[in-house]
């Protein structure tokens, strides 16, 4: 059934492991108080980022929201730039001005991530419009959460993209929560999110968001559709965030999300599943996995070390970049 080669699978698995390993390491260090920026970890949701970005080319562009680490890294944003940003250093991808929620790396097509819900949905549509005007094969992707579907801008953006037939892929990471509000109290119950998109007449599909191969395949179909000039495409992936909404801790003791729910989803860990699949198909061994974890552990340690030794921005340059 699967169309991915072993090489592709390994590449995606390694990408997810690298993201996970980096974020876990940062989460562990977060309480040290040196990363002074509200941080929304992607832990548990890596498959959406990696599966979609694997279907893209280097000159495509992606946009993200507040939970942007995985997207930024999956599309090739530098780990140094990200860690630098979290530590508020000049070496950060936003020179310490933006923080965890404003990761960007235009060199590799990570155009912008923004903390206000829904903003970058419209912005991605705009990049797609530019591509369409230039009759370029480039596509734009926007990653957003289930909570953003409630914002008016989501609908305005869908409508516009459909009317103008733009090459934009809407990727909704449905993790069932908006901060502490469960999805079923915020949207019509029993109506999957992707059906909202259908009413605009664009192809919309729900996918197992913790199965990186399924995500990749759906995204590949979607991107073909976009490049062929058939207009926008909508992808909803079901997934789950493991940590609290913002910050490094677990929150199952808070009375909102149950340990049982978390356990269920940890069982569905995208990395665990991809690892099993890769081992089963002979793409890698248990030993490889252990080696890679170590590799990424060393990488993030080295990067953190480098960042902590790098300078803060200079207060006298505070106005730089305003205009």
């Amino acid at each position: 059934m699967t169309t991915v080669s072993n090489d592709q699978l390994v590449a995606m698995l390694r990408a997810m492991m690298r993201i996970r390993c980096s974020e876990e390491s940062l989460a562990k260090r977060y309480p040290e108080g040196e990363m002074r920026t509200p941080t929304h970890f992607s832990i548990g949701q890596e498959a959406m980022a990696v599966g979609v970005c694997a279907a893209l080319k280097q000159d495509d562009v992606i946009y993200s929201g507040h939970r942007c680490h995985a997207h930024y890294l999956a599309q090739g944003g530098s780990l140094l730039g990200m860690v630098g940003e979290l530590y508020g250093r000049e070496i950060g991808c936003a020179r310490g001005r933006g923080g965890s929620v404003h990761l960007n790396s235009p060199e590799v097509g990570v155009m912008a991530s923004a903390a206000i819900m829904g903003e970058t949905i419209a912005v991605a549509v705009g990049s797609a419009m530019a591509f369409a005007m230039d009759r370029s094969p480039r596509v734009a992707v926007t990653f957003f959460g289930d909570g953003c579907v409630e914002e008016g801008i989501f609908h305005e953006s869908l409508n516009f993209a459909v009317v103008k037939k733009l090459p934009v892929l809407f990727v909704c990471e449905n993790n069932f929560y908006s901060v502490n509000s469960p999805l079923r109290l915020r949207q019509p119950p029993d109506l999957a999110i992707h059906t909202r998109a259908t009413s605009y007449g664009l192809p919309a599909q729900q996918v197992d968001g913790n199965d990186v191969v399924a995500v990749y395949e759906a995204a590949t179909t979607a991107v073909h559709h976009l490049r062929a000039g058939n207009g926008p495409y909508f992808l909803e992936g079901l997934t789950y965030r493991w940590r609290e909404h913002v910050g490094p801790l677990f929150d199952t003791d808070q009375g909102v999300r149950s340990q049982r729910e978390l356990d269920f989803w940890m069982e569905q860990c995208p990395i665990k599943r991809a690892s099993a699949r890769a081992q089963a198909s002979g793409a890698c061994t248990e030993l490889d996995l252990r080696r890679w974890w170590k590799e990424f552990g060393q990488e993030i340690d080295a990067v953190v070390e480098q960042v902590r030794n790098s300078p803060f921005p200079k207060p006298e340059n505070i106005l730089d970049g305003t205009y």
Partner: protein, 344 residues
């Protein structure tokens, strides 16, 4: 009198008002969650339940309209924005509808909604989570805009808002949340448009809005040590603005420094300075000075964030430069923020 923290005073004000008036409800993202908007809605939720304290989907603009429409038929909504920056999404409903409702519909009906917006300063909250929007909203006739810095004012303004007929935007600075003050147990309303003289002085008037009222008070301590007697005013509401008290003070001291959490240009500091130019121009003994965030978006990195926001030291420094005291200020006073590490 008991001492309460700012967030406790807000909570108490809401609960007491809700007890007296069954038409009041509280709505907004997270008002019913375990954190209860920094604790301010926990007690109300416990006391009045999900019917009167409820979460909403993410729809700032529509929900503003929803609140207005419920007020139009008799409800008294309290709408909470965990960050006041989200209110830009509701700017149309707030400015084009709430502010103009009574006037453009002929004066017979009003929509008394209380909109709480929290200024999320601290811990590198950055460009879109730590702005102060009060100057922007106060530009438009039809709204009341209040910026309480002290627990009793927060409570008292809420009481007034929930008895009045005007849509109110109440901006609370998160940095004030842990500050304590005397708060009357009863519901003592604080009038809109009445400034508070936090300290009397002779040499210079410092007007500080929101958190800067508190910081101005701390600056006046420093100034006292330098031999400068500062009068400190907190406008409490910036629309209506208590022109009289401000002008009287400036006429008395002949000097004015305005401190604010919103930007200088076209902001609160500009308005108060303008008042001096209009009503106290011939009393001025020195140039007016504004102490505000720098003219850039709020940066994240700690070193930049510190340089960005006004502090007691920068306020005191500005005052000294105005009174031309020779001694440059040696001591730097950290801001109230220093211990904040979340939750955001």
């Amino acid at each position: 009198m008991r001492r309460l923290k700012y967030w406790q005073a807000i909570s108490e004000g809401l609960v007491q008002c809700m007890e007296k008036d069954a038409s009041i409800f509280i709505a907004g993202g997270g008002v019913d969650d375990p954190r209860g908007i920094f604790g301010t809605t926990l007690e109300a939720h416990k006391r009045f339940g999900a019917e009167r304290v409820f979460d909403i989907p993410n729809c700032e603009n529509a929900f503003t309209g929803v609140a207005l429409g419920s007020a139009a038929v008799g409800k008294r909504p309290v709408v909470v924005h965990a960050r006041n920056d989200f209110m830009f999404l509701a700017a149309d409903q707030l400015i084009n509808l709430a502010a103009k409702w009574k006037y453009m519909f002929g004066g017979r009906t009003s929509v008394p909604v209380l909109f709480r917006g929290i200024v999320g300063r601290g811990w590198g909250q950055g460009a879109t989570h730590s702005q102060s929007t009060h100057s922007m909203f106060a530009h438009f006739p039809g709204l009341y805009v209040a910026t309480p810095a002290f627990p009793d004012d927060a409570k008292g303004l809420i009481v007034t808002a929930l008895r009045g007929h005007t849509p109110v935007i109440l901006l609370e600075n998160r940095a004030c949340y842990e500050l304590e003050g005397d708060v009357p147990e009863e519901m003592v309303p604080v009038q809109f448009g009445k400034a508070r003289v936090l300290r009397e002085g002779r040499d210079i008037t410092i007007v500080g809005a929101s958190l800067m009222a508190y910081e101005a008070l701390r600056a006046s301590d420093i100034l006292r040590e330098c031999g400068v007697s500062a009068e400190v005013l907190d406008p409490r509401s910036i629309r209506p603005l208590d022109r009289e008290t401000i002008v009287a003070s400036v006429r008395k001291t002949g000097r004015l420094v305005v401190a604010d959490t919103s930007w200088s240009l076209y902001g609160f500091a500009a308005e108060v300075a303008a008042l001096a130019a209009e009503e106290a121009w011939d009393y001025l003994k020195a140039p007016v000075r504004r102490v505000t965030p720098l003219d850039c978006p709020a940066p994240v990195s700690k070193v930049l964030e510190e340089a960005f926001h006004p502090s007691p030291s920068t306020i005191a420094q500005a005052c000294l430069s105005v009174v031309k005291a020779e001694a440059a200020l040696e001591k730097s006073v950290g801001d109230v923020q220093e211990r904040f590490r979340g939750p955001y």
